[in-house]
């Protein structure tokens, strides 16, 4: 019988044998009972373990615990509206499916695979509703009544959708050939669904990936893939995107943005965190850029030469309820203010106005689910965070500069 190795001796001392396979744990216990040499080694390792524990204990700080109630109250004040966003994205996913199906129906009606006339006749009507909803902008389109539920659609449109979804399997490779106007709409909506899926991955990357569920695995498995139209269609037709926070959906984002999202999805969360390069202003000299990093929302930096932000900023965005305004500082030095405002419901945004010369690293880490836009002015950095797209946040940011 082979002796017990050092690792098993430490597992024994640590009371961790129950975490070993039962047969292996039994073998180790039996051996230690029977083998005097290993019993001696066990005593030596016990001393080593005890010494190491004592040494670590020398570096234990006195822990002063803040009040839990205070902590919870802080979280409640700043909590993003997660339950609501899930519902909205569910609608978006459903909307993407509807538009996709209608797009296919449109093509089928064009003569290549003519389905029964009474079913396709409803498609243009439903498509018109969809088109209006999408063109109204991201937030409006998500909440549009056209997407409230499947039963809101005319029965014939539902039938057409069913038919078209079935037909999808038949046309396979023809997906990329969608050319009709409604098909384009469908693809745009599907793209949004992919962004949503990507943002879910971002959340997982920053936070621990310890709760692997189907959506995460699915997102990861597509991480390295090119965000082709087919991928977008697949995402739209599955449940993958359903749990993504709607706050990071950007309908108008360009395809290259999707590519960067996918790269992040493939990366190891911890490694990505340490390997991520610092973002420099010089990297975005000409235009607004979007960025999703592991565990972070999108950050958009306004270029220095943008003269829309020349005035001194207001402390809060006009037209929104101010929930709180607090000073930022370490008790010795004032470095700026943060104003929390209610967007709608439980959705909050925060406007950080930092003093001149104060660096952005005084800010807390951007939580997943939030986006950020920021601009450096003569009076210091102005940063706006919230569960909205960067475009929307940029519009809100501009309202801080009334001139």
């Amino acid at each position: 019988m082979s002796h017990v190795d050092e690792g098993a001796l430490h597992a024994y001392l640590d009371g961790a044998l129950d975490e070993y396979p039962a047969t292996e744990a039994r073998r180790i216990r039996d051996h230690l009972d029977a083998c005097s040499a290993c019993a001696e080694r066990l005593e030596a390792e016990r001393g080593l373990r005890s010494d190491a524990h004592a040494m670590l204990g020398l570096a234990a700080p006195a822990v002063d615990m803040p009040s839990f109630e205070e902590l919870r109250a802080y979280v409640e004040r700043t909590r993003p509206a997660t339950s609501r966003t899930t519902v909205r994205v569910t609608r978006l996913s459903w909307a993407a499916s509807v538009m996709l199906a209608l797009g296919v129906g449109w093509i089928l009606r064009g003569g290549r695979m003519e389905p029964p006339a009474d079913r396709t006749s409803a498609a243009p009507i439903a498509a018109a509703e969809v088109e209006r909803s999408v063109s109204a902008g991201p937030a409006q389109s998500i909440e549009s009544s056209a997407f409230e539920s499947r039963t809101d659609l005319p029965a014939t449109a539902v039938a057409a959708v069913d038919e078209a979804e079935v037909a999808l399997d038949k046309i396979g490779a023809e997906r990329s050939e969608l050319e009709a106007p409604v098909a384009v709409l469908a693809t745009e909506a599907s793209t949004s669904a992919v962004v949503a899926s990507g943002s879910e991955v971002s959340r997982v990357a920053g936070d621990p990936s310890l709760e692997e569920d189907e959506s995460i695995r699915a997102s990861r498995s597509q991480g390295g893939a090119e965000p082709t139209g087919e991928t977008a269609l697949d995402a739209a037709m599955s449940d993958r995107a359903i749990e993504a926070p709607v706050s990071t959906i950007a309908v108008d984002d360009a395809p290259d943005f999707l590519a960067s999202t996918s790269v992040v999805a493939a990366a190891d969360p911890v490694e990505e965190e340490s390997a991520r390069p610092e973002r420099r202003r010089s990297e975005s000299p000409t235009a607004f850029t979007s960025q999703f990093n592991a565990g972070r929302g999108g950050v958009r930096v306004v270029p220095e030469d943008d003269d829309r932000f020349d005035d001194e900023p207001l402390q809060s965005v006009p037209g929104f309820e101010v929930v709180a305004t607090e000073n930022i500082g370490d008790g010795l030095e004032f470095v700026g203010t943060v104003t929390t405002q209610r967007l709608e419901g439980e959705d909050m945004m925060q406007a950080f106005l930092l003093e001149p010369e104060i660096e952005l690293d005084v800010l807390p880490v951007l939580d997943p689910g939030l986006n950020e836009v920021r601009v450096e002015t003569e009076t210091g950095w102005v940063v706006l965070r919230g569960p909205r797209s960067e475009d929307e946040l940029e519009t809100l940011l501009m309202r801080l500069f009334p001139g």
Partner: protein, 172 residues
């Protein structure tokens, strides 16, 4: 709705989290702030396995901290504790010096370990199970004991070497 008793979890895990973080950032106040931040995020996300989640987030925060520590002069204080005094040696310069020396010795000994060995040791000392450590460090459960055995041995050797050096200096 989550069935987790967050109050209880906070009471039992917060001190361990601070200890874990302290041995990474070597600043008691900052370790407490980061532990708070980890809890704030946990309360926001309500993960299914909050303890393991907290330590993973804390490890990431500490990594972030290490990257910015040199530049950092100030930080945002989210919450103030009831008691401002955090160290038992506060106000006693001699005791504070002793404490700093002790911390320095342990810090140096820990730095002599490989990153994986150090992480395993700190996680174990913060109360994580072998299974949790294995998951976090991407190890087999059976390899955790070996990693800990190696880490403890190296820590003790490095600490004793430093003590020996200090004794030699004192005798000269």
């Amino acid at each position: 709705m989550s069935s987790i008793d967050w109050n209880d979890l906070y009471r039992t895990t917060f001190p361990e989290l601070v200890r874990f973080l302290h041995r990474k950032v070597w600043d008691a106040e900052r370790a407490r702030d980061l532990a708070q931040e980890a809890f704030v995020r946990a309360l926001q996300h309500e993960p299914k396995k909050p303890r393991a989640w907290l330590f993973q987030v804390a490890a990431n925060l500490a990594k972030d901290e290490a990257r910015t520590a040199i530049r950092r002069k100030k930080h945002l204080v989210l919450l103030k504790s009831d008691a401002e005094a955090t160290g038992s040696s506060l106000g006693n310069p001699e005791a504070e010096l002793d404490e700093r020396e002790r911390w320095g010795a342990v810090r140096q000994a820990l730095n002599s370990l490989s990153e994986k060995d150090r992480e395993a040791l700190l996680l174990w000392d913060a109360g994580q199970s072998y299974t949790e450590i294995a998951r976090q460090l991407d190890l087999a459960v059976g390899a955790v004991g070996t990693t800990l055995a190696r880490a403890r041995k190296r820590l003790a050797e490095a600490y004793n070497e430093r003590e020996q050096e200090n004794d030699d200096v004192a005798r000269r």
